[in-house]
């Protein structure tokens, strides 16, 4: 049995794609490593951009201009135009299926200003925008009787003559590997901030598993060096302290209690200023004490609660220790304007893809928009693609290969604790491939990643069980992060300029020669990184 469209990932992008593909009459299945509603999407607080003009005058043109500016010249104007022009329609669609957006006094969808935008453009549901969109999408999926396989972890994609034919999964509950055949596949598996383990706002699940599987299958990746850092993660956990704390008048202080940057500058500028202080040996703190208890409890109660729970400090009386942490990955699977990757029939949408709309830096409020607007587009295009697939080729070779990989992993000696290596990889990426990148440090990091990769055969499992073996899943995830660290580090090394979220010491400004996207692929076991003008 072959599905028309197999959707991998049950976050916002996957669920939207599923609803659209189903509407188009496709026979579909959604597979996820966790339950729908537990994905990264639920963490998005700020909002979803759409030039509705409900609060003040706005236009899709202004939205396009802001997005282009943020992208640093390496995004596709045509894709951005599609996204921004479709935005009001996407938000109205979400509204029509029941998303409880906050409202204005005159009964319109409320909007607020996020950083880097000229208009008041982000539609929101209090601080739970992602959560409420995700749950409403899930409710609609239940209404449409969409089939789910939960707690199936993606291992590999099957291809035949560069056309996707299915995917191999690990059934976490039974411990079996299972191949699911499909005429087309949509990857909606999220980003790779998890490489920065210990230094990210993301869930530990954000290990780019879909991107790594696509890369192994021969797909091209793009712009892997562009990582957005959020200036104010709590120092020891990376838990996000929202921009609203600075927006309300919170200041950043070094160990001497001195301010050192205009706190309202863009995320990358503030993150770099904090990083420079940290490099001087300073600790950096967010100070909201002067706002007063009443104001804090009324306007940013969530931030006080997070500080109490995760840092053990009360920001009404104490300064908050913070550090910039990895927040969003702009790079991912390179896709064309139909959202299809370099593998026929393999589509990618959301943070796992690079659809050339974020370029060198993502604008706040555009990620939720991308998963909904392009999620629908991916569902539609994949369904149409499947209609033209007539062959019934099923690749069983990959299933056997993947099964052998799992068997070997179960047998491998447990000489090296990969959890310690995971922590080390996080530190390494953060220290050497983070906010300010430098050739010698990137080279060091690359060598260490290669050394870790060569030790993988000694990083076996402690848990040999077949029921819900998270030791196994975490080991595979660690390997995926190593797989992705190489293109990330190599592209970062080659991009000798600073643009958007990518900052190279010694090359502090954008270089016209690099007004291009990076493309990574493997040729005869060698990693190739090319730079290519983006089709405008």
């Amino acid at each position: 049995m072959k599905y028309d469209v197999l959707i991998i990932g049950s976050g916002g992008a996957g669920l939207t794609a599923a609803l659209r593909a189903k509407e188009k009459g496709a026979n579909i299945l959604v597979v996820g490593e966790t339950y729908p509603t537990r994905s990264q999407t639920c963490m998005a607080q700020g909002g979803i951009n759409a030039a509705l003009g409900n609060v003040e005058n706005d236009s899709p043109e202004a939205h396009i201009a802001d997005t282009l500016k943020s992208s640093g010249g390496i995004a596709s104007e045509r894709m951005i135009r599609q996204l921004c022009e479709d935005a009001p329609k996407s938000v109205h669609w979400l509204d029509s299926i029941g998303v409880p957006f906050s409202r204005t006094e005159d009964a319109k969808i409320a909007q607020r200003r996020l950083g880097g935008t000229s208009g008041i453009r982000a539609c929101y549901s209090q601080d739970y925008t992602g959560l409420k969109i995700l749950h409403t999408l899930y409710d609609q999926c239940m209404k449409e009787a969409i089939a789910f396989k939960n707690e199936y972890f993606l291992l590999d994609l099957c291809t035949e003559n560069n056309q996707v034919t299915g995917a191999v999964f690990y059934n976490m509950r039974s411990g079996d590997t299972k191949t699911i055949h499909a005429k087309s596949i949509i990857l909606a598996t999220g980003g790779y901030s998890g490489l920065y383990y210990g230094y990210t706002t993301n869930t530990n699940q954000s290990t780019g598993d879909g991107i790594a599987a696509a890369f192994r299958a021969g797909a091209r990746l793009s712009n892997m060096e562009f990582i957005q850092f959020h200036p104010t993660g709590l120092k020891n956990s990376g838990i996000l302290i929202s921009e609203s704390a600075r927006g309300a008048g919170g200041t950043l202080l070094n160990s001497h209690g001195e301010r050192f940057v205009d706190e309202l500058k863009p995320r990358d500028v503030v993150s770099r200023a904090i990083w420079e202080e940290m490099q001087k040996g300073e600790d950096v703190f967010l100070d909201i004490r002067h706002l007063g208890e009443a104001y804090i409890d009324e306007n940013i109660p969530q931030e006080r609660k997070l500080c109490l729970t995760y840092a053990g400090i009360d920001p009404v009386h104490e300064v908050i220790p913070i550090a910039p942490v990895a927040h969003y990955t702009m790079g991912g699977i390179a896709v064309d304007e139909t959202l299809m990757s370099s593998i026929e029939g393999l589509f990618a949408v959301g943070e796992c893809s690079n659809a050339n709309v974020h370029g060198a830096n993502r604008l706040g409020g555009n990620s939720l928009l991308e998963i909904v607007s392009f999620g629908r587009k991916a569902g539609e295009n994949a369904a149409a693609f499947a209609q033209n697939v007539t062959d019934t080729i099923t690749n069983t070779e990959q299933s056997a290969k993947t099964k052998a990989y799992i068997d070997a992993l179960m047998e491998a000696p447990n000489e090296i604790n990969f959890y310690q290596k995971r922590t080390r990889l996080g530190e390494l990426c953060y220290q050497k491939a983070g906010i300010i990148k430098e050739a010698s440090l990137l080279e060091d990091a690359l060598h260490e990643v290669e050394a870790m990769t060569s030790q993988l055969h000694e990083m076996g499992l402690f848990d040999k069980g077949c029921t819900y073996n998270t030791n196994l899943i975490e080991r595979i995830k660690f390997e995926n992060t190593l797989t992705l660290a190489k293109p990330l580090l190599t592209a970062a090394l080659k991009r000798k300029e600073s643009r958007g979220a990518h900052f190279r010491k010694g090359y502090p400004v954008p270089d016209k020669a690099f007004e291009k996207v990076s493309i990574c692929y493997t040729k005869k076991n060698t990693l190739i990184v090319d730079f290519k003008k983006v089709a405008s």
Binding site: T34, R38, M43, T104, A107, T203, F462
Partner: protein, 242 residues
């Protein structure tokens, strides 16, 4: 700090055992302690987690008998950690949520027809704001004593979700929704409030169920305990409070 965790494996006899662990961290959340044990002490310890900040609903478990999110709970000396109840345990602290989530299908927790955009007022939205904060962590399901005796009961989160949709101005078929919460639904609840007490999002399913009862009355439904002439008033699950 010493804590005790219930370990569960269906391939072992007895399936469940209590295991003691020493956590050498002064101040941490339970989730951080679990990460530490898994990475440094025993990688077979199995649990779920996600966002680490109380919004994904993955890490609900019982701590000293009370449902909590592990990511939001500050570890205390002597804590006893067990998986959620009323659901099948898969391994250690991981449970199977599939059956519980089926209750959402039974109550038809969705808008049946696409609504015209921008119909809601601020007040309309506020009416469903709290209910839509639900993160589907199943804490309420685990705490519900009715589910202890009747596994077919719809349970708190599905009923809260049902109330959320019937209270949505965009809902076009309230009657169908109300019909769907009669069988093993609103009247089977004892209004004990355990669900409300454990909800990490401060949602009040007990109140939502009472609201659904009054909506049911508007559609001509009555409490079956009273409908039977009151004979089994005290056996029908509804405590009238006297």
């Amino acid at each position: 700090m010493k804590i005790t965790i219930q370990r569960y494996c269906k391939h072992r006899d007895p399936h469940a055992i209590m295991a003691a662990y020493e956590v050498p961290i002064e101040e941490c959340t339970l989730l951080e302690a679990l990460y530490h044990i898994k990475a440094e002490v025993d990688p077979t310890l199995t649990f779920n987690s996600g966002c680490r900040s109380e919004v994904c609903g993955s890490c609900a478990m019982r701590i000293n008998g009370k449902e909590k999110l592990a990511c939001a709970y500050k570890l205390q000396e002597g804590d006893v950690v067990e998986p959620l109840s009323k659901v099948e345990i898969i391994k250690d602290l991981v449970v199977d949520h599939e059956a519980a989530q089926q209750t959402l299908r039974r109550v038809k927790s969705w808008l049946e027809k696409p609504a015209e955009p921008e119909q809601l007022t601020m007040e309309d939205e506020k009416r469903i704001e709290k209910q839509t904060d639900c993160i589907l962590c199943s804490s309420c399901f685990s705490a519900c004593p009715v589910l202890e005796v009747d596994g077919a009961f719809l349970g708190p989160f599905a009923l809260t979700r049902a109330y959320r949709y019937t209270s949505d101005k965009r809902c076009t078929d309230e009657k169908n929704r109300i019909d769907a919460v009669q069988e093993k639904g609103v009247w089977d609840c004892t209004l004990c409030g355990e669900c409300t007490a454990v909800c990490p999002q401060g949602i009040d399913p007990k109140n939502d169920i009472m609201m659904l009862r009054s909506k049911s009355a508007q559609y001509g439904y009555t409490d079956p305990a009273f409908a039977n002439g009151g004979d089994d008033m005290f056996g029908g699950g509804f405590d009238p409070g006297f």
